[in-house]
C-alpha cells in the first residue's frame, strides 16, 4: 500500500511538473527563464545537486548551456555537439546513467577543475521530437543515499525530457509566430506611412485626382500632385520595379525627392533629370523607376510632361477621340544622365476640355474575369464614367479591376487631370473678353480678322518663303492692335513673329520652298498667343539658342529678339493630325497686362 501511495504521489508530482511547465510557457514569452524554472523543478524532483539544460545551436554543431542549477553556474557554456557525456547522449538519443564519471573517458572535467566542484555521477537524457534533436538535460550528483542515480531516476528524467522537448518546440513556434506577427504589424505600419505619402483627396470635383490599390501590403507605385502658387498643378505618377519592402523604400525616396525638388523648380524635364541623378547615386543595382512628371495649366488647358520610361498616358478628348503619348526617356535610376547629353524631352499637350490619364501597367494588365483589361478596356471604362467627377471615375475603374480579378497581381494606380471644368471657365472668360473688345470702339475700326470661337483671332496659312513675311507682319499688327497693345509692343510682337517665321523659312525648311507656315493667333484673358506651325524636321532645341551679343557678327540675332520680346517661347510637338503630326509648333505668348 505504502509503495502504491508513494508511486501515486510520484506520478502526481510528475504531472504537476509537466502542467506547471506548460503553464509557464503559456504565461511567459521569455523562453530562457522558463528553462531555468523547469530545470530547477526537475532537479528538485530527482533530488539532484545540480543540473543543466543544453540545446543545439542553429547549425547543430555546438551544444550551448541555456540553464543551469546548483552550486556551479555553467549557463552559456558551449561545447562541441559530440563532446562529453551530453554530446554522446544527444548523438545516440539514448538516456544514460554514469555512476562514476572518473571511469568514463568522455567525461570532461574542465568545469570541475575550474570550480572545485566534484562531479561523481551523471544522469542525462536527450531532448528530441521524433528525429529532430534539440539538446539534452543533465543531472549531477544525487543528494542522500549513495549519491547515485538509479534506473527509476533515469526513467523519470526520460519522461520529463520528452515533455520538455514538446514544450520547448511549442515555445519556439510561439516565438516565431509572435515574430511573424510583429513583422506583419511593421509592414502594416510601413503601408500606413506609404499611404501618408500620397496626396490627400481634394474636393470631390477636383480636376486632379489619383487612386492607388496595393497588390501587397506595401506598394511600389505612387502618385502625387500639389498646386503651385500660380494656379498650375505639378503632378507625378511612378512605378518602382519589383515589389515588396525594397520597392516600397525606393518609392518613399522617389516620392520625397519629387515633393522636395518639385516645389523648388516645377519643370518636368529638369525635375526628372534631377531626381534621376539622386536615385542613380544611391539606388540598389537593378532597381529602377518608371516615372512621369507633368504640370497642368488650367488657364491654358495644357499639360507639359516628361516621361521616363512610363506607360504612355492617354488623352481622352471631349469629342471622345483618344491619343496616347510614348515615353521619351529611359526609366529613372539607370543612366547617370537621363537626357543623354540633352535637356530631357518635354511634351506639351493641349487638353482642350479633355481628360488626361496616367496609370501603371497594373491597370492595363489587370484582369476582368479571365481577360486582361488592356488599354482598350481601360478606355471603355473611362468613357463609361465620363459623367462622373474625375476622382469618382478613376476610383470606379480601380474598383472594377479589384473586383474583376480573384487576386490583384500588381499595384493599380491611376491619376487623372480633367480639363473639363477649366475649359468651360476659359470659354466664359474668352466670351467676356470678346464682348469687351467689340464694345470698345475707341480704336475706330472693325477687326478685319473678326474673332470666332475659343479666343481664336485669326488663322493664316502661307507658303514658307520670304515674300510671305510682309503679309504675316500685317496680320500680326492687326491682331495685336485689336488686343489693345501699345505701339511699341505691337512692333515688338511683329518683329518676334517675323523672326520666328524667318527661322522656319531659312532653317527648318532649309531654303526649300515646299512647305507652308500656319499662324494661329488667339488670345485669352491674360495673353496674346501666336502659334507658328511648320511641317519641317523636328527642331533640335539644343541648336535654338540666342547668340552672345558681345560677339559682334551678322546673324543669329533673330532668336535673341524673340526671347527678348515675348513673355513665353515654347516649342510644342504638333498634335493636330496634320501631315501625321510632323513638324513643329512654336508658341509665342505676350502678356496683355
Amino acid at each position: 500500500m505504502t509503495c502504491e501511495t508513494a508511486s501515486e504521489t510520484e506520478s502526481t508530482r510528475q504531472l504537476e511538473i509537466l502542467a506547471s511547465m506548460g503553464r509557464d510557457f503559456a504565461a511567459s514569452g521569455d523562453i530562457e527563464s522558463i528553462f531555468s524554472t523547469g530545470l530547477e523543478r526537475i532537479s528538485a524532483m530527482l533530488n539532484a545537486e545540480g543540473g543543466a539544460l543544453f540545446l543545439l545551436n542553429d547549425n547543430g554543431d555546438k551544444l550551448v548551456c541555456h540553464a543551469s542549477f546548483g552550486p556551479v553556474d555553467i549557463s552559456g557554456l558551449t561545447i562541441n555537439a559530440t563532446e562529453g557525456i551530453v554530446g554522446r547522449v544527444v548523438s545516440t538519443g539514448v538516456a544514460e546513467i554514469v555512476r562514476d564519471v572518473s571511469k568514463d573517458l568522455s567525461f570532461n572535467n574542465t568545469v570541475d577543475q575550474k570550480s572545485g566542484f566534484t562531479t561523481r555521477s551523471i544522469l542525462c537524457a536527450s531532448l528530441a521530437i521524433k528525429d529532430e534533436k534539440i539538446g539534452a538535460i543533465e543531472m549531477v550528483n544525487k543528494h542522500g543515499g549513495d549519491n547515485l542515480f538509479n534506473n527509476e531516476d533515469l526513467k523519470l528524467l526520460e519522461t520529463l525530457a520528452a515533455s520538455a522537448s514538446l514544450a520547448i518546440l511549442n515555445a519556439r513556434m510561439a516565438i516565431e509566430l509572435v515574430e511573424k506577427e510583429k513583422m506583419a504589424r511593421e509592414l502594416e505600419l510601413a503601408a500606413e506611412i506609404q499611404k501618408s505619402l500620397l496626396p490627400l483627396d481634394g474636393d470631390s470635383d477636383s480636376p486632379v485626382a489619383g487612386v492607388n490599390l496595393a497588390a501587397r501590403v506595401v506598394s511600389g507605385d505612387f502618385y502625387d500632385f500639389f498646386e503651385l502658387q500660380d494656379g498650375r498643378t505639378c503632378f507625378t505618377l511612378a512605378d518602382v520595379s519589383g515589389k515588396g519592402m525594397n520597392a516600397a523604400l525606393l518609392m518613399a525616396k522617389t516620392a520625397s525627392l519629387f515633393r522636395c525638388l518639385g516645389k523648388e523648380a516645377p519643370y518636368p524635364g529638369n525635375l526628372i533629370s534631377r531626381i534621376n541623378a539622386e536615385v542613380v547615386e544611391t539606388a540598389a543595382r537593378g532597381m529602377f523607376v518608371t516615372m512621369l512628371i507633368g504640370v497642368y495649366d488650367p488657364e491654358a488647358g495644357t499639360v507639359r510632361i516628361a516621361n521616363a520610361g512610363h506607360e504612355p498616358p492617354i488623352l481622352l478628348r471631349s469629342d471622345d477621340t483618344v491619343q496616347s503619348f510614348t515615353a521619351g526617356m529611359p526609366p529613372v535610376g539607370i543612366l547617370p544622365d537621363i537626357g543623354m547629353g540633352k535637356t530631357p524631352e518635354e511634351t506639351i499637350i493641349n487638353l482642350d476640355g479633355g481628360a488626361f490619364y496616367v496609370f501603371t501597367d497594373g491597370v492595363t494588365e489587370g484582369y476582368i474575369g479571365e481577360k486582361e483589361l488592356g488599354a482598350e478596356g481601360f478606355i471603355k471604362f473611362i468613357r463609361d464614367g465620363k459623367n462622373m467627377a474625375p476622382g469618382a471615375r478613376i476610383a470606379a475603374v480601380a474598383k472594377h479591376i479589384k473586383e474583376g480579378s480573384s487576386i490583384l497581381r500588381d499595384d493599380v494606380t491611376i491619376l487623372v487631370i480633367d480639363d473639363g471644368a477649366a475649359f468651360i471657365k476659359r470659354k466664359q472668360i474668352n466670351t467676356n473678353a470678346k464682348k469687351s473688345m467689340h464694345g470698345d470702339k475707341s480704336n475706330g475700326e472693325s477687326n478685319p480678322d473678326a474673332p470666332n470661337g475659343e479666343g481664336e483671332i485669326a488663322k493664316i496659312s502661307v507658303p514658307a518663303v520670304a515674300e510671305s513675311l510682309k503679309l504675316i507682319r500685317r496680320a500680326i499688327e492687326s491682331a495685336s492692335g485689336n488686343c489693345g497693345l501699345g505701339k511699341d509692343t505691337i512692333q515688338d510682337v511683329v518683329l518676334a513673329v517675323d523672326e520666328a517665321c524667318q527661322n522656319v523659312i531659312r532653317h527648318a525648311y532649309g531654303g526649300v520652298n515646299d512647305g507652308n507656315i500656319i499662324l494661329n493667333i488667339s488670345r485669352n484673358a491674360q495673353s496674346l498667343i501666336i502659334e507658328i506651325r511648320d511641317f519641317a524636321q523636328r527642331v533640335d532645341l539644343q541648336k535654338v539658342r540666342p547668340r552672345d551679343l558681345d560677339d559682334l557678327r551678322p546673324g543669329g540675332l533673330g532668336t535673341h529678339f524673340i526671347k527678348e520680346v515675348m513673355d513665353e517661347v515654347e516649342f510644342k510637338v504638333p498634335n493636330d493630325g496634320l501631315e501625321d503630326n510632323k513638324g513643329n509648333i512654336l508658341v509665342l505668348t505676350k502678356s496683355l497686362k
Binding site: R473, L495, Q502, P554, G555, L557, F561
Partner: protein, 112 residues
Amino acid sequence: MEIKISETSGVSVATLSGEIDLQTSPKLRGELLGLIANKRPLVIEMSGVSYIDSSGVASLVEAFQTARSKNLGFSLAAIGEAPLRVLKLARLDGVFVIHDTLENAIIANGGN
C-alpha cells in the same frame, strides 16, 4: 525697301526707305558692300525706314565691320524710332555711330 545712292563731298550716302526684311536685306547687303569698295566713308540715311529685322541688322553689321577694316567712316543718320528700337534690342545702339541728321553725319565723316 528702296535704296538711293548718292555722293556728297567725298562721302557715299545710301538713303533707305520702307521695310528691310529677309526678302530685301540681301539687296541692301550687296549695295552697301559695293559702296564700301569705293573706299569712301559711308553714311546711311534711315529716316524712311519703317521696319528692320535681324537680317537687315546683320547687313548693317557686316557693312560696318568691312568699312572699319578698311579704316573707312561708317555712320547711321536720322534713324526712326522703330528701327532704333530694334538696334537697342540687339545692343547695337552703342556700337554704331548714329547722327540725328544726314548733314551732321556727312560732316563727321570728313565731308562738308
